[in-house]
Amino acid sequence: MALQLQNPILKWIEYRLPVFSTIDHMVGSGYPTPKNLNYLWNFGSLAGIVLVVQIVTGIVLAMHYTPHTSLAFDSVEHIMRDVNYGWLMRYLHANGASMFFVVVYIHIFRGLYYGSYKTPRELLWFIGIIILLAMMATAFMGYVLPWGQMSFWGATVITNLFSAFPFIGDPIVTWLWGGFAVDNPTLNRFFSLHFLLPFVIVGLVMLHLLALHQHGSNNPLGVEKKGPQDTIPFHPYYTVKDLFGLGVFLIFFAYWVFFNPNYLGHPDNYIPANPLVTPAHIVPEWYFLPFYAILRAVPDKLGGVLLMFGAILILFLLPWLDTSRVKSSRFRPIYKQFYWVFVLACIGLLWAGGQPPEGLPLYLSRVCTVYYFAHFLVVMPLVGWFERPRPLPASISEPVLGGGKLPAGAAARGTH
């Protein structure tokens, strides 16, 4: 659907600088969308909105924050106590990071369930994983900025992960720190990169959308759309649905910001950083716990680090590890059960990551780590091979309308 501009000024601009058709191509409202999308398809637009919230609140925080070891902690307290609505900006930003991960994790599990990583959406999936990695780096460096005890020791432990690599490890760590320990040079560069990376994410999101609109959204049936009878225009149908979802989401977000703003954080981060004393329990933010559990499940330093990074990098191989020709788990009676075991394993890792690494939590984290990797490396290829999927509908509209005939309204809609 090519963009039709009416306004002469816009036409004049478009003729010289095709911004409107470019924007339309990426987030165009006329974009034909499968008509059977469920609420799990809301989380992409939610992620985009949270990214904007993070950037806006972040820029405000940066106006009042000071990236220096002797001033950072106090400047965050200054934001909390003295700056007009500073408390609101900071609580929105700190909880917004958690919301970002809630939304993105649901978005990813949606893709896993409905096979959205399969042809022709492999690159779309890859860009998504790169966004996840960039988000993790951003959130990690952001958490260092308030320069509390968890900031400092989280930064120490995570940067030290790189020391596990033979030979190059120690030089890399010194390079990351800009010194011999996490210190002012580290804080300074983390601030600079924390400011930069969200804008890199914006660029990646644009690529993500470009790839999405090339073949359009997947859908709960995992059957590609066959013609206009299978689609509705994005606007007004999905704009309204997305807005409704946004309302519900904002209530959830507001609950944390206004009623429980410190629950997702850690009280030790209200103690100024002290390089001489490590807190008794160092735990990362909740969204890193599953990976932290994998790190600690392995009794070997390098092995733990490799598995932890591998847990994300393995997602790049999904399009080839999944041998099934059917996308949606709805039609995959066996795989569907393994999918839920996988979800349980992830929840198990999330829980175990927050416990001291001994006894039951350690045991559980080992079992779940084994399943995490087995799910991708063993279950996916084998089940895809042996499973007999249930019969797929011929098209998106067939299960509802029967036969895939062109319903009366669909022809008229083409001109929208």
């Binding site: 120490t156 432990v157 030290n160 390079w175 010194g179 011999f180």
Partner: protein, 177 residues
């Protein structure tokens, strides 16, 4: 690649143009790498950070069985005045099954003074003194146990607590770094 031959060379022979092409690209790559280097190197420790690299510690106030922790290059250094029992235990364990074998003698300049980095060799936490299964140090982060010589005995840490470069400048003063 380039089949646009100009010289008299036959088909498939490298030409003068191929050489110029490869040389130009090669020089360009070297130039680019040289231009990138300052942007990478700027993140390494700066001159002032490197300059702050030695401190002196007065030992006269540290009684037997006491330790002090001093900050050197942004990291804690443990200076422990060991008891005779701790020294004996450390020496006796020289022949134990050590993940990172080292004799107690090789880790000290004077047996009663143990000077080492207070940085766990796993992921960099500060271990707690006189705790753990070996009466030495225990790291609360992921459970590494060190003995009275600071050698790793149990847990995920791979190496002994490192001994920094230091020297006795008098009987009661050391210089670290």
């Amino acid at each position: 690649m380039s089949s646009t031959t100009t010289g008299g060379a036959g088909a498939g022979e490298p030409t003068r143009r191929d050489f110029l092409y490869i040389a130009a690209v090669g020089i360009g790559a070297v130039g680019t790498a040289a231009a990138i280097w300052p942007f990478i190197s700027q993140m390494n420790p700066s001159a002032d950070v490197l300059a702050l690299s030695s401190i002196e510690v007065d030992l006269s106030n540290i009684q037997t069985g006491m330790s002090v922790t001093v900050l050197w290059r942004g990291k804690p250094v443990f200076v422990r005045h060991r008891t005779q029992a701790e020294i004996d235990k450390a020496v006796a364990d020289d022949k134990a099954d050590l993940p990172d074998p080292a004799t107690d003698e090789s880790r000290v300049k004077k047996p009663e003074w143990l000077v080492m980095m207070g940085v766990c060799t796993h992921l960099g936490c500060v271990p707690l003194g006189q705790q753990g299964d070996y009466g030495g140090w225990f790291c609360p982060c992921h459970g590494s146990h060190y003995d009275t010589s600071g050698r790793i005995r149990k847990g995920p840490a791979p190496l002994n607590l490192p001994v920094p470069e230091y020297a006795f400048i008098s009987d009661t003063r050391i210089k670290i770094g």
